[in-house]
Symmetry: C2
Subunit: 453 residues, 2 copies
């Protein structure tokens, strides 16, 4: 019976009630974040101006399971559990013996996986009396998610959006405003960090790193305000594990185990969320999937970056994190997958990669959009630019299966829909999209600015 089905649904009583912390099961712990001044491991008091204590604890905990608060579950149930789908129509188009499954996170109000962490971040801040959150956003997925989440708990939300996106994507701006957020293009003249950048380059298109600097500065300036980050940090990846925990149950419903897991990696939260629960099963010897990161050729932090301590933002306000980085001063080419344009990779994903539990490949955007069109025309869903990388990688794997005759089970996360990214598709269909890259020289220059510890 399961053999004939394509959609594997859980009901609202089956939303996971605990997040999974992969650190508890890794044979070696990940290196700690360091204070930017002292270069000593940061303590809770260093992070207290930025985050509520509950999230700081989650950032460093070695507990395996963290209970999800009821007030978070109530909001998760607006869209969770998300569906797991076998892409039978795409398989047929590819004429492959592979079985392609995708976990679809585009059903959330914001249209991506980001509310999985936005909601608990807002909840924990609210529970500790914080009434206002600041954040940055690139393409707008994260800002939309935090705007939605803060609205659920009656909090204010202030978003610094990378100026190039702010100018080019009014629809995303409107979506954030529908949920009640206040927006600022970044760099802005509202922060010292922003004013500094504008003084050097009044026409700066901005970057995620700059916007982070601004949102952090605005958060620490007020007692009632904290900062929220949409990726990279341990607690963010922790919250995202609801994706993988649900997918584990749904793969059981489908009566299959994955041979290959592929996920797109920008900051790493979608990837970690899908993969860590399966990595647990792998470490315990209960399954043995290949785990593969897919990153854009224009921001290849795993495949071409270096594993070292670097800042999370451009100006250097955040703690130093051991991660694969292209250098905190690096501004990736303007590919359409705005959510993947980040210089670093989550320390946890970087660590897992270094330990050899995951491999990585990079793909150019033309191949990604070609894959997205094949996907849309068969499975109906128009993917966001970010998960087009995951789809392209899944298709690469399925095409290898066609050559070898292997009937591998491929699992990926379709982490968002592309309804607000039609400009990218327009460029692709008009033939004006190009594959953007990264020269060795630019990479060298950016890396040379990274502190040596």
């Amino acid at each position: 019976m399961a053999e004939e089905r394509s959609t594997f649904l859980l009901d609202e009583t089956q939303v996971p009630t605990q997040w999974y912390n992969v650190v508890a099961d890794l044979p070696e712990p990940p290196p700690p974040p360091l204070h930017p001044g002292t270069h000593q491991p940061v303590g809770p008091e260093d992070l207290a101006p930025l985050f509520p204590m509950a999230l700081i604890e989650q950032e460093v905990t070695t507990e395996r399971w963290i209970d999800i608060p009821g007030g978070v579950l109530d909001v998760y149930r607006i869209w969770r559990p998300s569906p797991l789908v076998r892409a039978r129509r795409l398989e047929k188009l590819l004429d492959t013996p592979a079985k392609i499954f995708f976990k679809y996170e585009g059903v959330s109000p914001a249209g991506s996986h980001k509310p999985n962490t936005a909601v608990p971040q807002a909840w924990y801040n609210h529970a500790e009396g914080i009434t206002r959150l600041t954040t940055e956003t690139g393409a707008g997925q994260w800002g939309t998610s935090l705007a939605f989440a803060t609205a659920q708990y009656g909090m204010e939300c202030e978003v610094w959006q990378v100026r190039s996106s702010y100018d080019q994507k009014p629809a995303r701006r409107t979506m954030m405003e529908i949920y009640g957020a206040t927006l600022h293009p970044s760099p802005s003249d509202l922060t010292e960090a922003g004013r500094g950048i504008l003084a050097a380059d009044p026409d700066s298109p901005g970057s995620l790193g700059i916007a982070i600097s601004e949102a952090v500065e605005a958060a620490v300036a007020r007692e009632d305000t904290r900062y929220a980050l949409g990726s990279v940090l341990n607690h963010v990846l922790l919250h995202q594990t609801v994706i993988g925990e649900e997918a584990l149950r749904q793969m059981e419903m489908a009566e299959v185990q994955p041979d290959v897991l592929v996920g797109c990696t920008g900051g790493g939260s979608n990837f970690g969320g899908l993969v860590f629960p399966f990595l647990r099963e792998k470490l315990a010897g209960r399954m043995d999937p290949t785990i593969r990161c897919v990153e854009p050729a224009a921001a290849p932090s795993l495949t071409r970056g270096e594993y070292r301590y670097d800042f999370g933002d451009t100006v250097g306000l955040t703690p130093l994190m051991k991660m694969h980085t292209l250098g905190h001063g690096f501004i990736p080419d303007p590919i359409h997958a705005g959510g993947l344009r980040y210089h670093g990779m989550a320390p946890l994903v970087s660590h897992v990669y270094e330990q050899g539990y995951a491999e990585a490949e990079s793909i150019g955007q033309l191949e990604c959009f070609r894959a997205a069109l094949m996907f849309a025309r068969t499975q109906g869903i128009v993917p966001a630019p970010e998960p087009t990388h995951a789809i392209a990688a899944a298709i690469r794997e399925a095409e290898r299966c066609k050559e070898t005759g292997e009937s591998k089970v491929i699992l990926t996360a379709l982490c968002g829909h592309g309804h607000l990214d039609m400009g990218a598709y327009e460029a692709y269909l008009a033939g004006t999209m190009t594959d953007l890259g990264l020269s060795d020289e630019d990479l060298r220059t950016a890396l040379d600015a990274v502190p040596t510890l």
Copy 2:
């Protein structure tokens, strides 16, 4: 248990396998369509240049149940069954004793209920050897749906899009092109109808009626081509009854019966699809809900139009249909709910209304968008402009319940999401949106042009 739940899901094995034809249960049959030349009831041969024989049969059948072909069910299962949701968070905001349920059709690939009929229309044409379909679209929901549907069966799709939408909504255009459709702004110089309009007004913004004329003309010009209409006709409403049939089962899961059904009406297909299965239950005495149509104040065909024979298009190429009409020459004000800007109402909905089984009210767009913001901030989903009318009407009812203390069960259809309609929300949030209306004089002028039979 059902009392505590909010989301009522069916699985893919529970997609309805038959459409329901309300004509079989109506005590009085609806008046037939008439040939525009002879004023005699049209026969199958009159419609054969436009539609495949299977759909012509469905247009006139009095059978109660029509089997859904397997090739249609296969595609329905990409997104169906759609969820039924109790809007508990909105209820809480309204502080109402009412229980508000919505059937959410925005989960389809096109983002609305329209693929429910686009898919079978493409399938039946394909089955009869047709390789190309033409159609019109206003806001773009229908064109997107037909583009998606034809892609599933390897057919060509040519869409005449109302020029004002074509120019203002490039995202919708791109969405249709992603699915492989060819687009023309209407009026175009590709048809006699279009050239005639352009000769009289080179800057014509177009209208649905004009675009229908063009698509019909282009269809009859070629043997391999037929025409597809997204609303109004009996077979379209028939296909949409999957909405109501699923909702009936889901309301049983929720252990409630609706006291009030509200649905937005443009051409009438979303409304008919939700309501007709419940009307069957009402006619059989198994439940007794109030059934209410909600239309925009700018295109109030039921509340201010006249019930008479009129053309479906502007030029007068279609059969004459007995319906509530504002006159086939009427071009509604440019409200944002493009899908509701139509001069007529589905003959079946008009007949049901005339027979007293349904009531109607009209609402201005400011109240609708106010309601939409309340909905988005509580339930997460950003509605398309069309169903903001249904939400506004549901909120009106819930507010009456608050006054009277009644705990009525309200059921509506959220027939699409608004991800591609952010311009409308931008206007609302910026305070530049106005309530548009319809003067008695304009209405009189339009109605005077309607043939007297």
